[in-house]
Symmetry: C2
């Protein structure tokens, strides 16, 4: 039986993961399991994993590392009980040599014994905190995917991984910005405070109405563009590195963990 988003809104993280694993749900995860950490996935062969770990350590705002699996293991012990990396995200992207080849809902049949999974914090965490504080976000009000852009903000390279930072944008009123900055700074494992406020061209964005990923949103009179480091950055770096095989979650279809989204460190205590 297929379940819709509404049916899962009040479900436990483990029940949601089971529904996804069984093929009963393959939609987006925004708003599901509120207060639980949701994570971006980056999965690659072990030979690239040390460089990727270095890349995350050197660029923690776009790549906040919240979990690393043992080689070949399909679980992330520190993030959930009975949490499976290869079946529990609603969708995956499979890249060969930097080219998207397929978007399956399950990667258990293409799993390799040398795979290492990296889990990275995601913007849902700070968006949730902003919503609780009464800050409206345009892409949510317009029911769109947040707009994301390549920028000229250089990353610190590591091995084959490098390039520019990818950012997400939310238009805000100037009087809200300091409060937003201070709320987001409380979540260093979810991209933290904004990386840029104001003129998009200062960070190499030529057309704010033409995002590289996601959807353009309305920017109203008096609003300012506010930019956050984005979890598409590591995906973009891995594609740019043209790894023979690289897998990620499907954008918006995150892996839901058992960990509280405020937990720092994000490590299960029992």
């Amino acid at each position: 039986m297929m379940l819709d988003h509404e049916a899962l809104r009040t479900a436990d993280p483990s029940d949601i993961r089971t529904a996804i694993r069984n093929g009963s749900y393959s939609g987006h995860t925004a708003g599901l399991a509120p207060d639980r950490l949701q994570v971006n996935l980056a999965i690659m062969a072990e030979e690239f994993a040390l460089d990727f770990a270095r890349f995350c350590q050197r660029n923690p705002k776009p790549c906040p590392l919240v979990g690393v699996s043992d080689t070949g293991e399909r679980v992330l012990h520190t993030l959930g009980h009975d949490l499976r990396v290869d079946t529990d995200a609603p969708g995956y992207c499979v890249y060969h040599n930097g080219v998207l080849q397929q978007q399956p809902t399950d990667i258990s049949d293409i799993w390799q014994d040398d795979f290492v999974t990296f889990a990275l914090g995601c913007s849902f965490t700070f968006e949730h905190a902003l919503a609780k504080a009464g800050i409206a976000m345009r892409h949510i009000d317009q029911n769109r995917t947040v707009p994301m852009y390549r920028t000229s903000l250089d990353l610190v390279p590591a091995g084959p991984f490098g390039g520019g930072m990818v950012v997400s944008m939310r238009p805000l009123l100037p009087q809200d910005i300091e409060r937003v900055r201070s709320i987001c700074a409380e979540f260093p494992l979810a991209h933290g405070a904004p990386v840029h406020v104001g003129d998009p061209s200062e960070i190499g964005i030529t057309d704010i109405n033409a995002p590289e990923w996601g959807d353009a949103v309305d920017i109203r009179d008096g609003e300012v563009c506010v930019f956050w480091a984005c979890g598409v950055t590591p995906q973009n770096a891995a594609i740019r590195a043209q790894l023979p095989v690289f897998l990620s979650h499907r954008p918006g279809a995150m892996l839901i963990t058992d960990v509280d989204e405020r937990a720092n460190p994000p490590v299960l205590q029992d």
Copy 2:
């Protein structure tokens, strides 16, 4: 010419590193280059580095990762200009199969092309903040090395790395503990807030007057034992793992970086 601690008190980080590199200073680094991040070093062959990175990610309170070198490189680009890992700490410990073999002041002649250096945050950072806030620390007043203990607090293992957490202890008055907790929590990359307050036996410490490392300090009437995750933990885990070769700084003789000790992320911006 040999320099003493006093002569370096007002020197720049790079001048201090140069003095150490030239063999003009080999003492401890507490109180030098105030406001700059000082780091613990853990150096090992690349084959163990991915597991060690996982170990740090899973145990961030004792092992707060602030830098990882490229394989074979003797520098840490993100932490300093002209900063050399093999010459710029005042002293090193060299372990073979988990046994301390020598304590040289320079490891440039035993460097291996497969070495990876991990830099980890250190307690000097929060001690500096506590001192500024007027919190006296007994080991400093008594001119001793902070007492450190093995505990029954389990670490999350990764590959050959595991075991129990090592903690440091500072006796405090009960009325200061909440303020201390809140100051230290601001420094997640320097072990953060205490991991235990009160009865040492609750975390497996049988004799508070017999620390495994450092010196016992006086505990006065009315004072409570306060315990922090300690940077000796990763060293202890590497010794326990009996790596063929493992190198660390000499306790108290840290590597001084150019990065502000409050910087998060600790990545040079120029």
